[in-house]
Amino acid sequence: MSTAFRIALAVPVAMTLAACGEPLPQLSFEESLQQQLIEAEPGDVISIPAGTHELTRSLSLNVPGVTIRGEGMDSSILSYRNQLQGAEGLLVSADDFLIEDLAIEDTVGDALKINDSNNVTVRRVRTEWTGGPLETNGAYGIYPVQSSNILIDGSVAIGASDAGIYVGQSTQIIVRNSRAESNVAGIEIENSTFADVHDNIATNNTGGILVFDLPNLPVQGGRNTRVFNNRIVDNNTANFAPEGNIVATVPAGTGLMVLANDNIEVFGNEFVNNDSANMMVVSYHITGLPIDDENYDPFPESIHVHDNSFSGGGAAPDSEPLALLREATGQAVPDIVWDGTMVPGKTAPDVLCMRGNGDADFVNLDAPGGFAAPVFEIGPHDCAGAELPEVSISTEP
């Protein structure tokens, strides 16, 4: 080969190298974690090392079959105290998702949102707003929505300005062994079906556990939820939800509220010192909000409350009709409150059956009659309600 030809070849090579001379940018922890989440393959485990990791933008995962694993909910902390972008901390739209042993703190919006996913496990995860209950806290802590086969186990949710653990528009759900504290709603099951909520602690929330069904949503007809063996204690925190949100209507001091759901079994729970009422069963009409949805059933039905223990509570109701009742009777608001609304033609036991709740007392508020003639007799509700089957989910064979 001639010398000239060799030189000719060398020139373009040198030009190419020069073009590649710009060094590639270095990635921060945050960028490299987000890149791992984007480039993950099914079966991958993404590790969050111990330490407090500052993030400024939402993380997101769209790849199925991925596990995100920290070294403990008090060790591996994703802190969003300086968050600049994104309406949540971690946003997941991915089936077969497992997240465990880490914390998500101080997100500007929701902490962990899981949308449209099947087979979701959230285990030993803590979501927390560390400044206490503030209206400026994000709305939801652990937040699966339009999802199925959901297990939330051993988790902790603190300080959400809407709900700490919120499962919406979903089916096949287990929430267990978890603690919800200092949220507006501790645990909320909304527009969902087939949920078991058990062995949790709900304390110092505005409302401990809420089971709601709301109109004008693509998924409604909330039913078949069992709430059992929970401790629902001292849920007396003043309501700090922004106005306009449905939970902003929940009186402080609500232990358990069932709103417009059907087929609910409540048993083995310990209700203590929830100062509006330990338990309420109400229709959507109680919110005073308009209903413009012909497919929506605003009335609760087939609510079975048995073998619970009640102590204290009802002493300082944060609700006008309950406060008037307390004044009129000179007594604490009864443990179990029903607003008294029902579909014409139905009877009291169609709505609410109660047995074996110790010396729990009861009131039918007569909301349809303008709260004029409350009824305290529990007798009409002495019936054997249905026992619902255990919820099974695909990740817990």
């Binding site: 001639s2 000239a4 030809f5 030189i7 000719a8 020139v11 373009p12 073009a19 710009e22 940018p25 960028e31 490299s32 987000q34 984007i38 480039e39 933008r57 997101s60 995962l61 769209n62 600049l84 994104g86 309406a87 739209s93 997100t107 500007v108 919006g109 949308n115 449209d116 994000g138 709305a139 939801y140 929505v145 339009q146 300005s161 809407d162 919120y166 004008n216 949503l217 693509p218 309501n239 922004p242 106005e243 306009g244 949100n245 449905i246 929940v250 009186p251 109400v282 109680i286 919110t287 005073g288 909000l289 308009p290 413009d292 949805d293 609700s319 006008e320 009709p321 309950l322 709260f371």
Partner: protein, 373 residues
């Protein structure tokens, strides 16, 4: 003699061989220049003549940035019109370069013109996003320009840039966000979560608008950009397509403009199959009644985004409407759209305010029997 010419000729030959865009079927190159979409003479970034510069009829707001968009189809390939959709062949590349005109002292200016090339003396380029049509569908990625403006690098996880922008009200300092690849899908996947990624600007109703690029054949008058594609042999002749209504079209009806604004800024998530269907708010024009686009509709999971207001749209009362509250917010947990902007879009807010103000009717006042406050 020939020997002596070779060192001169060979690089020239290589350069001309490189003079058209290059498609990568598998891995995304780290550098934007590898795609060869632009002729870069150091002073200016100029789209290669094989590309078509285009502008959608109903554009999206991105923090007052200018956008230079190009389209390229591989030689001999054609797009097809199928069921009202434009199907691009594998190998097609769409690009969008976000830039600001530069002012004094590093302050950037709102973009007023549609530039066909970017003079580095007068513009700062922030990012170039690509949509690449491969055999398995569209792929989205963003390249971020370095400080020297000499190269843009692939940033899978997105990036941010500090910007000082001259606004009529004064200088606004903000952080401009380049989306990560999941965030690209957040808008370009309209059927959540498993639908395909697809273009939002290079669609028939957006391209049916007139060509704005003066470099395109001036003898053509102002034909639609679909015609421009046909002229290049990229598209079979088709029957004329109706152009999308534009929120910018001040001759159009107020309702048409407002719905066009909501469609392009919100409809990719707020549609019956979109990521925001959890809220039951439908803003892509497919609503069945006014409640679905927010009239007297209560929020579902808006949190602080509800702004202490009860209804999404309160007719005649923009100040009581959550929709306007969220458009006027730039807090990440409150603002809408959630992505794609850091600043409030004043013109958009003004349009929607006028639209809501012109609505008749009232929403019921809730009588809160149980209310805690």
């Amino acid at each position: 003699m020939i020997r002596h010419l070779l060192p001169v000729l060979l690089p020239a030959l290589l350069l001309s061989a490189c003079a058209e865009p290059r498609f990568f079927e598998q891995d995304n190159p780290q550098r934007l220049s590898d795609w060869n979409l632009f002729r870069d003479d150091g002073a200016r970034l100029i789209p290669r003549e094989q590309t078509l510069v285009f502008t959608p009829a109903n554009p999206l707001f991105t923090d007052y940035a200018g956008k230079l968009r190009t389209m390229w189809l591989p030689a001999g390939e054609q797009a097809r019109m199928q069921d009202g959709e434009l199907e691009f062949p594998a190998g097609s590349i769409l690009s969008k370069t976000f830039y600001y005109p530069t002012g004094a002292d590093g302050v950037l200016l709102e973009s007023a013109n549609h530039e066909n090339e970017l003079d580095r003396q007068q513009h700062r380029m922030i990012e170039t996003r690509l949509l690449v049509r491969r055999e398995d569908g569209w792929h989205a990625m963003a390249y971020v320009w370095n400080g020297e403006q000499s190269e843009a690098f692939l940033r899978v996880a997105g990036a941010s840039a500090s910007v000082s922008l001259q606004r009529p009200s004064g200088i606004e300092d903000f952080v401009y966000f380049v989306p990560n690849e999941n965030q690209c899908a957040g808008c370009h996947v309209t059927v959540h979560p498993d639908g395909p990624l697809h273009p939002l600007g290079a669609v028939p109703e957006q391209l049916a608008a007139a060509v704005l690029n003066q470099n395109e054949n001036p003898d053509m008058g102002h034909p639609s950009q679909l015609r421009a594609m046909q002229e290049r042999g990229w598209l079979e002749a088709t029957s004329p397509q109706p152009a999308a209504a534009s929120w910018e079209d001040t001759h159009a009806e107020l309702d048409t403009r407002a719905q066009a604004y909501l469609n392009i800024h919100c409809g990719h998530c707020h549609n019956p199959d979109g990521a925001a269907d959890t809220s039951a708010l439908v803003l892509d024009g497919n609503h069945r009644n006014p409640v679905e686009f927010g009239v007297c509709k209560t929020p579902v999971a808006a949190g602080g985004g509800a702004g202490d207001l009860l209804y999404n749209i309160y007719p005649g009362a923009p100040e009581r409407s959550i929709l306007l509250y969220r458009m006027e917010s730039s807090e990440p947990d409150e603002m809408m759209p959630e992505l794609g902007r850091s600043l409030v879009h004043e013109d958009g807010v003004a349009l929607l305010r006028e639209w809501i103000s012109a609505m008749d009717g009232d929403c019921p006042e809730p009588v809160r029997a149980f209310g805690n406050r």
